[in-house]
Amino acid sequence: MIAGLQRFLGELRREGICVSPAEWIEALQAAELVGLENRALFRTALSATLVKRATQRQAFDDAFERFFAAPRLHGREGRGRARDETGARPGPGRGERPGLRPKTPPREPERKQAPLGKPALEQALEAVRGGAVVRHGRLRRIVLARPGERRQQRSPGAIERTPLRDLTRKHATGPDDAALVRAVRREIERLRLGAARRTRRAPTGRPYLRRVFRDSLRTQGVPFTLPLLRRRTDTPRVVLLIDVSWSTARAAGLFLALAGEFLRFGRQTRALLFVDRTADVTPSVAAWLAARTRAPFAALLGGVRGLNLAAPSDYGRAFHHLLRSAARPRGRRTVLVVLGDGRTNRFEPLEWAFAELARDCGAVVWLVPEAAALWGTGDSALERYLPHVDAAVEVRDLSGLARGVREILRRVG
């Protein structure tokens, strides 16, 4: 809650409301007293402690609405960019240069108030918990952490017991990285061995005995044809798009390990890192994996050209950059995996750019290193991107990562 309110404090300061440390502490105390369950109470608690003039109230209300608003689920069907009222597609060349940061934080239209913690996305998540099928644009599947799972993990390793959420707060250390890599490799190995080999019917190959009876039923066995099968030869391609900004720095280490393991097993994998622009690090990661003594992740990140680690993360700009670059992922067999929290620092999310990327890929999986309750809150634009994603997975620890890998492998085959 403190971190969330701290971000709200920044929002208030941008609105011109100066808050002293004493008032800030009082606001925290007040918020703790009233809790988060009741939106009106929570708003009153913050306004009573942070607003000191009637003239500030409107600015406070605007900031509160913007920051604590319920995320909207866009009912956009299909994968292409939606057309506006005039029938034109929003995007570049229509009065606004894409990828450029707005000079002022974008003002969002009025949102209908909803109780805190029960936004639209949260309702979708609840539907998932209840076993309902998600229908939210392209999104069909949300995979969440199971309650109490973290406490019951069988693995004795300290790293595995530590939620990723906490790991994101620390700087990576060498031993931690090594432990993570080992753990990720175990997960992927287990899944790889567990997964059945994909085969398909073919004019030549070995007999497909399981289909003989079913095929014969259609024609009563006259004429009898022996179905044949052979292993799939086309190699699926996995493109990992990893947010390595400060907020997800530690999780990014884990995701990089994941990328490395995909590379090790001979998949056609590309690893792209981004903060506000994308950078292809596939050769670097491959070299890093091949090295006898691996440098820490931080050292790997530091050596990537075109990656500004000090920049605030800007998903819209990064997606747009990727859309226009040669590394743009394409293909029916391509699985785009985005690893990040979707927090875009209030920069324009440019979801149309992401929608175009998603449209050209066979499947899109988004691994979110953040609690599902926080998706779409504050500066998170996740609710804008999720309609263009096939599956979203809550990845806060290794078990979450395992579920994420399972989702990827389901689509890779």
Partner: protein, 305 residues
């Protein structure tokens, strides 16, 4: 208020409603937070929206004494904090003249007399001769007490600065007696009509709430609860008329108290509607400024000849 209710925003709201005071969740929550955080509350808003009433009901809610300090231009420490009972001191001096003569009978010179009286003079600057004014009374109070500093915007800036010490530490310094600290921290409510901008320092020490005119529904509920004999239709008309007057740029907008007075006047006259003649007879209860009254009456339809 029978029994001490559990203090939370809902309980405060319910208790206020018991006394016919319809309040918003914002007011109740702010009072609850003030209680929990031990902070004064600054209620700002136009006159007649019930800020003072909130202070009074807050005292009743806590079954405590209400100590009210009405601010005005020229209010100083002597009238707000304490002063020495000069008359009482003089009376005691007269009564104790013989005793003093005994004390000073064998004194050879004036210097010796002053030295001897020096030890005795403190008796005249003890709590016996101290006239505690509202602020000091609130600090000295042993039981629950609500200090209502009403219309603080009317007081001078010097007094506002003086209030800071009281609101920060709940203590006052009296040179003859030293520093007096509150044994039980008083609950403090400051009200302001926003006629003058209060200092940031004072605002920072308080929880702030702007109490605006109520919405139509809220005001209707208030009128119905305070004026039982009023029909629903008439109550709606009364409130709608009052709200439309507030939108007009009158010199003095009608507050809730005026609306209630007007509704009571209508009930007393047995009015069943807002006919122009009825309005002419009763509008004085609602509009309290001559120019405003003339403006409103001029807009009323003329009676047919």
């Amino acid at each position: 208020m029978q029994g001490r209710p559990k203090i939370d925003a809902a309980a405060i709201r319910a208790a206020f409603l018991e006394h016919g005071f319809v309040t918003t969740g914002e007011v109740a929550t702010t009072l609850y937070l003030a209680d929990a955080l031990g902070k004064p509350v600054l209620l700002e808003g136009p006159p007649g929206v019930g800020k003072t009433e909130i202070g009074k009901l807050w005292a009743r809610f806590h079954e405590g004494e209400l100590i009210r300090l009405q601010c005005y231009e020229g209010l100083d420490e002597a009238k707000a904090l304490y002063e020495w009972a000069y008359g009482k001191q003089m009376l005691y001096v007269q009564l104790l003249r013989e005793k003093m003569a005994e004390l000073l009978g064998d004194v050879p010179d004036l210097a010796t007399a002053v030295r001897r009286l020096g030890g005795q003079a403190d008796a005249f600057f003890s709590r016996e001769f101290l006239l505690a004014r509202p602020l000091l009374r609130a600090i000295l109070a042993q039981g629950p007490v609500v200090l209502l500093v009403d219309e603080v915007d009317r007081a001078d800036e010097e007094f506002e600065a003086f209030l800071l010490e009281v609101l920060s530490d709940y203590q006052v310094s009296i040179p003859e007696l030293g520093t007096i600290r509150a044994t039980a921290r008083p609950r403090v409510i400051l009200t302001s009509n926003d006629s003058r901008d209060l200092s940031d320092a004072l605002r920072r020490r308080c929880l702030y709430l702007y109490v605006d005119y109520p919405s139509f529904e809220e005001e209707l509920a208030i009128v119905e609860s305070r004026v039982p004999g009023l029909s629903r239709t008439l109550a709606e008309r009364v409130v709608r008329f009052a709200q439309s007057l507030r939108k007009a740029e009158l010199r003095k907008q009608p507050g809730i108290a005026e609306v209630i007075d007007w509704a009571l006047a209508l009930v007393t006259l047995g009015a069943d509607g807002l006919a122009p003649e009825t309005l002419r007879q009763t509008l004085g209860a609602l509009v309290k400024n001559r120019e405003d009254l003339e403006r409103v009456l001029a807009d009323l339809p003329r009676p047919r000849a």
